[in-house]
Amino acid sequence: MEKAIRIDGLNVYYETFHALKNIQIEALPARAITALIGPSGCGKSTFLRTINRMNDLVPGSRVDGKIIINGVDIYDQQVDVEALRKKIGMVFQQPNPFPKSIYDNIAFGPRLHGVTKKSELDEIVESSLRQAALWDEVKDKLKKMAYDISGGQQQRLCIARAIAVNPEILLMDEATSALDPISTIKIEELAQELKSKYTIIMVTHNMHQAARASDHTGFFLNGELVEFATTEQLFSNPGDERTESYITGRFG
């Protein structure tokens, strides 16, 4: 197994609230899907947002410990946060396309990072939309506002937008929780296709989604990572009784 990320003694505080407690993950696998599960407020989203340092934007948040990607601690003083975020795409709970055309949504990232040639942008837009399985549905209306397409399509647009800057890792923060079941299945299938190219980490509220869509699963509870294992093992033979209680529906 190729490892993408190592987490070493990670603690996160919001003001005085200790949101993540000494998280330790030896190897988060590359080019696979890792699901993070746990009840509301357990810290799974916070954990996700430390990986692309989105938590830096929260006033009063503080991080210590290490997150090592490609041998570099991303919280090192020398790290350029914008360059880091370019490498780590993120898809949010609510589809959040920019109030621009479909084309400009995809081209936004590449333009930020210096792509200006129309032909090159056209190519990126098409390949990103194809990878997000959206091209056939929108190829005739690239100039239309992104808000004119359905919620499920918007979320795939956001995935395409994230892919357009050629990231290595894709973070999905409950990316299907605002969608209908059919759109949800589409996004899960899409994730399966994308994992050959990208390391995907998804936070999900839905245990069944973790069970059917992921290769590895981490279970968070009260800011602690209770268990991290292959999905098969975690769901069939959990090593911690709290995990067992949660996945059998005794709480949460």
Partner: protein
């Protein structure tokens, strides 16, 4: 028992009277401002028509001499129009960049506790009486500028323009900041997650998304600047002439109106009617500007 409970569901007389009365009362209040506007137009209209029975619209609009109070009399409004636009342009050139920059700072950069202090202070600026700003222009700004431009007159368009600019900055920054603040956080997050810097988020996501509000603030500020009276009366002078040198004295439409109203032009004379013609011109310009702004805002709005 059953009956008593049922009674609670019948209409309460007082409540139904209120339900009937309230919308009518509120409508009456709304009518006040509409009524005022109609009244203003009506008053302006009567005297303006009387004026244009003596001077043709063409002479008024294209004439380059404005000497309605002294012989030989001439009623060309262009000098006043130019003076007004000169001051307004200077004010906007000064205030738009500063207003937008402070709005961006307050909305995108300032920590909460800084914003809580700075925003009210900025808004206090809006409460400075304009007569004070007028004397500020005359006794502070002009002497300072005269050190740089030695040909500058005591009364000039530049100082007046700058101080009108100071007057409209709070309006621009406050309204634009409201518009930027209203842009949903999730749009910013989307851009940050793609590796955008704070500045890129502000200029490429927040600014366009808030554009309609920002344009609205510009237009309101522009209208305020055009209609501003006290500052220009005190510091820009009373010499209506076609002169684009901002260091010279000019006269604006509003300052002219003050000059005549505070003088001894008798009711019904043409001097008196010029005030209405000029006032009508001012009214039409502001009115058209607002329509243009609405169209622009509708055309460029990025709806979120």
């Amino acid at each position: 028992m059953m009956q008593e409970q049922g009674i609670e569901m019948f209409k309460d007389k007082r409540k139904s009277i209120m339900n009937w009365l309230m919308p009518k009362l509120l409508f009456l209040c709304a009518l006040v401002s509409i009524g005022t506007t109609v009244g203003i137009v009506w008053t302006l209209f009567g005297e303006t028509v009387a004026f244009f029975k003596q001077v043709t619209v063409f002479d008024f609009i294209t004439g380059t001499q404005w000497t309605p109070l002294i012989d030989p009399r001439s009623y060309g409004v262009l000098p006043l129009l130019l003076g007004t636009f000169q001051v307004t342009l200077i004010a906007c050139l000064f205030a738009f960049p500063i207003g937008i920059a402070s709005a961006i700072y307050l909305s995108e950069y300032a920590p909460n506790r800084v914003r809580k202090v700075v925003k009210p202070i900025l808004e206090v600026l809006a409460g400075i009486p304009t007569i004070v700003l007028g004397y500020f222009a005359l006794f502070f700004v002009t002497p300072q500028l005269q050190k740089i431009f030695d040909t500058m007159g005591i009364f000039n368009a530049l100082s007046a323009g700058i101080c009108v600019g100071i007057m409209i900055i709070p309006m621009i920054s406050s309204l634009s900041e409201d518009a930027m603040n209203a842009v949903p956080k999730k749009l910013r997050e989307g851009a940050f997650a793609l590796g955008a810097t704070r500045f890129e988020v502000a200029t490429q996501i927040v600014f366009p998304a808030a554009l309609s509000g920002i344009i609205a603030s510009f237009v309101l500020a522009f209208s305020r600047a055009i209609g501003e009276t006290m500052i220009v009366t005190v510091s820009a002078g009373a010499t209506p002439k076609i002169d684009i040198n901002p260091l010279d004295s000019i006269q604006t439409m509003t300052a002219y109106i003050v000059q005549v109203i505070t003088g001894d032009a008798a009711h019904g004379t043409i001097e008196y009617q010029t005030v209405y013609a000029v006032g009508m011109t001012l009214f039409i310009i502001t009115f058209l500007l607002n329509i243009v702004a609405l169209l622009i805002a509708r055309r460029y709005r990025e709806e979120y």
